[in-house]
Symmetry: C2
Subunit: 298 residues, 2 copies
């Protein structure tokens, strides 16, 4: 938000350069943080994700399945998780599948302060023959790479990560509900783990995938949801991050989401600008079907 002071100033700056160009002096924090990964990347070949190097530590205490009627979205988790560490000197280390468990980070880890976090959401289904189905997971990998790049988190080979993901799903296959409308929700995420309060690109990161059996997100099931058109807060804006799937897009919307819910709506229809353009519905995508006055196709 603009401060009232800056609103009053309204400087019109035509030049993109404010100070005369002198000898290039990178600030201390840039030298030590921002370029560390860039310089290292240029200097030598870093390892990419390699599904062939997966190590698997099976859980010795498999959990009891939760009856599907008791499932709450994103609260029950399967037995295993995938983890792949990254650092700016070596690149991606060997993937590991291990029992679902805690992540320990120092309180100075960058993910706790500056929102170095992006994620994906996709689902595994059982078809009527009992086969496991994913819906266009290559597109999730594509978006995941785009989100990571937007936040200067490390890029990776999406095909290799997808192969790792499939190994995890097969191992936790019993967690995929077979009933219609239910699935195993898969959550890949990357977080910045470097211990630093300087604002710059992280030199260490952790990619993990966890899985959660789920039913419909809303209690109304697949019936229509009620939307409150929202203009006082903005979900996405030109030059912002609305096109990337990053943590920072979510928490700021909850206050407005709660206000909508108090008034009896399921979600916000996020609008933007003088023309009330639609940017998103709640935390989801939306599709619009336009009909002509006779109810036919436009």
């Amino acid at each position: 938000m603009l401060s009232s002071a800056s609103k009053r100033i309204c400087l019109s700056i035509r030049s993109r350069i404010l100070l005369p160009r002198a000898a290039t002096i990178y600030p201390a924090i840039f030298q030590q943080t921002l370029f560390q990964s860039t310089l290292t990347n240029n200097a030598k070949q870093l390892a990419d994700i390699d599904h062939g190097k997966i190590r698997i530590q099976r859980s010795e205490n498999l959990k009891s399945l939760v009856p599907i009627k008791d499932l709450i979205f994103g609260r029950t988790f399967a037995d295993h998780m995938l983890e792949i560490e990254w650092n700016a000197n070596q690149g991606w280390l060997d993937p590991i599948i291990k029992p679902y468990g805690k992540i320990s980070l120092e309180p100075s880890a960058m993910v706790f302060h500056y929102s170095f976090e992006c994620f994906e959401g996709l689902k595994a289904y059982k078809d009527k023959d009992g086969n496991i189905r994913l819906f266009r997971p290559d597109m999730n990998m594509k978006r995941f790479k785009k989100s990571a790049t937007r936040l200067t988190l490390p890029d990776f080979n999406g095909d290799e990560l997808l192969k790792c993901l499939k190994k995890l799903i097969r191992l936790d296959e019993r967690w995929i509900p077979a009933e219609r409308g239910y699935s195993l929700y898969i959550r890949p995420a990357i977080i910045g783990t470097q211990e630093s309060l300087g604002v710059g690109a992280t030199t260490r990161a952790l990619l993990f995938i966890i899985c959660s059996p789920v039913g419909p997100y809303y209690k109304t099931g697949f019936d229509a949801v009620r939307l409150l058109a929202t203009t006082d807060k903005v979900r996405a804006w030109p030059g912002g991050t609305g096109d990337a799937k990053i943590g920072g897009n979510y928490a700021p919307c909850v206050q407005t989401q709660i206000e909508a819910a108090k008034r009896g709506y399921h979600q916000n229809l996020w609008l933007f600008g003088a023309e009330d353009e639609i940017t998103e519905v709640g935390t989801m995508n939306c599709f619009v079907l336009l009909k002509n006055e006779q109810g036919g196709k436009v």
Copy 2:
């Protein structure tokens, strides 16, 4: 960012209500997550922060001080940290000062996915008589509360938290550099810790404070920094979160910050809108001094 599809639609919606108002049906995820804290808050009195209840676990292995010439901003941390847990049923639990150490969270903790994280930054100085000085810490507490509220993180008594903070600083007093230009940087933060992939208000949170001895942020010391006027990416926008000190404001700026650094600039001068209004410099505040043509006051 607007999708090209939504740009083409450009619906002009005058009514704030899209569907006829029916019996209020809260979606499942709202019932289970969003309102849990609200309902509990209304139902009973929750505990606020109480500095009188601090428990102190002193470190048995004090670290060696780092020579100030070797300090990198935000990389060295004092011996102790403050932690205060919060949950929607009890409110704030007793504060604890303990040795600086790791935070363990499940991978489903909301802070890793949806950026439930806000923070503050202030400094403790030694004056020439050896007294510890803080600069308007009450204003930091005020902004911290505002940032937390913006993200539906729990509110708290700022005076009580400040008293807790002072206990921590006194315990780690030896980490406050006495040299001019150096100080102990204090970083309070609140993170959402509930294990849930549903997007809603967190029902559990952790407030922590860590401390780091620091010198000037830039190697140029207190000399002028070079700024690149930036308009293609936007740091703050009306209806957004630029007025709150939250994690989500930071990681999205690093890509542009790196581009500026590569061209020899210390930071971005973030501009917004048709009038190129100044919203912020890099990750800092900025002040503008306007002079008339004779170099005098405007």
